[in-house]
């Protein structure tokens, strides 16, 4: 993990020219798949990720149904062509773990208790990966849930912070994640002030961790604005078109 590659140059800029506390360019779109009950697409840097939500619907197999709430299921999956070397399409241990932590990141936001004996299924497909896919995947899945009309306490938005070349940075890309000193992915519900996904690997003092956590939350707040805008714009566009016609 140590300094073979310089990740911060003499001007304090990162490998892709960003300042330490700068996000990658983000693009989001809601309602991109017609078959799903809700769907969304995100591009964050070179990450390209689709999410679809089906449900609430009948649980299959039926014995998994819960008597007092909806069963939330999540599958995070990477396309074989999403990374440099072809990835086997069979779910890896990493993907299984990420499916779990993403599900647990979204779970506190959803009013699952309103729909007993049903399931809500979230599918996240990473079409291209460039670091931070669990975070971007969480962000886009929350959009798909809202698009499906599933009642939520808040949107969930995720972003990582970390340490590269001794500097705390926001929204790590692939090389920063692999070569840096630490990575702290965080999922946040900004209106509730609650953190629902938190992981870390690397080496940080408690103080550095505290700063990374705050930096990640700041990043989340910025992405939250894009998220809300993506949801609104779908409807505002129709409204504006209509009003345009009326003029």
């Amino acid at each position: 993990m140590s300094g073979k590659i310089r990740l911060i140059n003499e001007n304090g800029l990162r490998v892709d020219g960003r300042r330490p506390n700068e996000l990658r360019p983000i693009k989001m779109e809601v309602g991109v798949l017609s078959n799903a009950d809700g769907s969304a697409y995100i591009e964050q840097g070179k990450n390209k990720i689709l999410a679809a939500v089906y449900g609430p619907r009948e649980v299959h197999p039926r014995h998994l149904a819960l008597p007092d709430r909806s069963l939330l299921r999540c599958r995070y999956h990477m396309a074989p062509f999403s990374v440099e070397e072809r990835k086997s399409p069979a779910p890896s241990r990493r993907e299984i773990e990420l499916s779990k932590v993403i599900k647990e990141a979204l779970e506190p936001a959803i009013f699952l208790e309103k729909f007993p004996r049903t399931s809500i299924d979230i599918f996240i497909e990473v079409l291209q990966a460039d670091g931070g896919t669990r975070c971007a995947g969480t962000t886009v899945a929350a959009l798909a849930l809202a698009d499906a009309g599933i009642p939520m306490r808040d949107l969930v938005v995720a972003c990582a912070a970390g340490k590269v070349d001794g500097v705390l940075v926001l929204d790590l890309n692939d090389i920063e994640d692999k070569e840096g000193e630490a990575d702290v992915p965080v999922a946040y519900m900004p209106n509730l002030g609650l953190i629902s996904l938190l992981q870390m690997d690397g080496s940080l003092t408690i103080e550095e961790f505290n700063q990374s956590l705050n930096l990640a939350m700041e990043g989340c707040k910025q992405i939250y604005k894009f998220q809300k805008e993506a949801l609104r714009s779908r409807y505002v566009t129709i409204k504006e078109e209509v009003e345009e016609c009326l003029r």
């Binding site: 241990r93 932590v101 779970e107």
Partner: protein
Amino acid sequence: MSSIMVSRIRQKQIAQMVASGKRLDGRGLKDYRPIKVETGIIEKAEGSSRALLGKTEVVVGVKVEIGDPFLDRPDEGVFTVNSEFVPLASPEFEAGPPSEESIELARVVDRGIRESKAIDLEKLCLIPGKKVYVIFIDIYVLNHDGNLIDASSLASLAALLNTKIPVYVVEDNEVKKTNDYIPLPIKNLPVSITLANISDKLIVDPWLEEEEAMSARLTITFDKDNKISAIQKGGPGALTPQQIMEAAHMAREKAEELRKMLVKT
């Protein structure tokens, strides 16, 4: 949901107790259950241990083989962590492919060892790019009574400290096993501490019923220099940033205690 159903009234009792700063089993919020660690319990394994955390029981076996290094780390040995939730450990465990929980457990333990650089992998290279030591850490959960992560990471570290690796000599670009054994080179001592959020209060080392009643758990792994090596939030709920920092400070204190205890045994 990995454990037996706890009645609603029991969950409420647990929550009320915790809210008033106490626990049903008489522990304080920051108390671990009695910890017992034994090593060298499996002679056929190069290293082994058994850890008891109250009634939670975990056995770890370490096997050592020779194999290929990773392409991007030709000069380093390799290790993997695997865990098995064997069906005899809980009515909730089933035979078959590993569950999400079991995969998460192994990956959290792996991260603590890897990120703290506990195993000196550079000393485990025999022929660069060709032959290195491969260390298999297998976690066997024998009785599930909550907080499997801490029991497993403690048992894993104890087993690694107990591991002796066979000495190989390199002749004509081939490795040959000798009859000598040396201790596995260990550089760091990662200790994971798991806290649970119940009634918006943090407790350490949740047992099974507390895991049923908790909204979220947080595992923080500290290395010997009090630096954080790994974190994992689990469970369906969420935490405030203040709770997370409070947890980090609590965990640092407990990690030191546990490390001291482990080194003594």
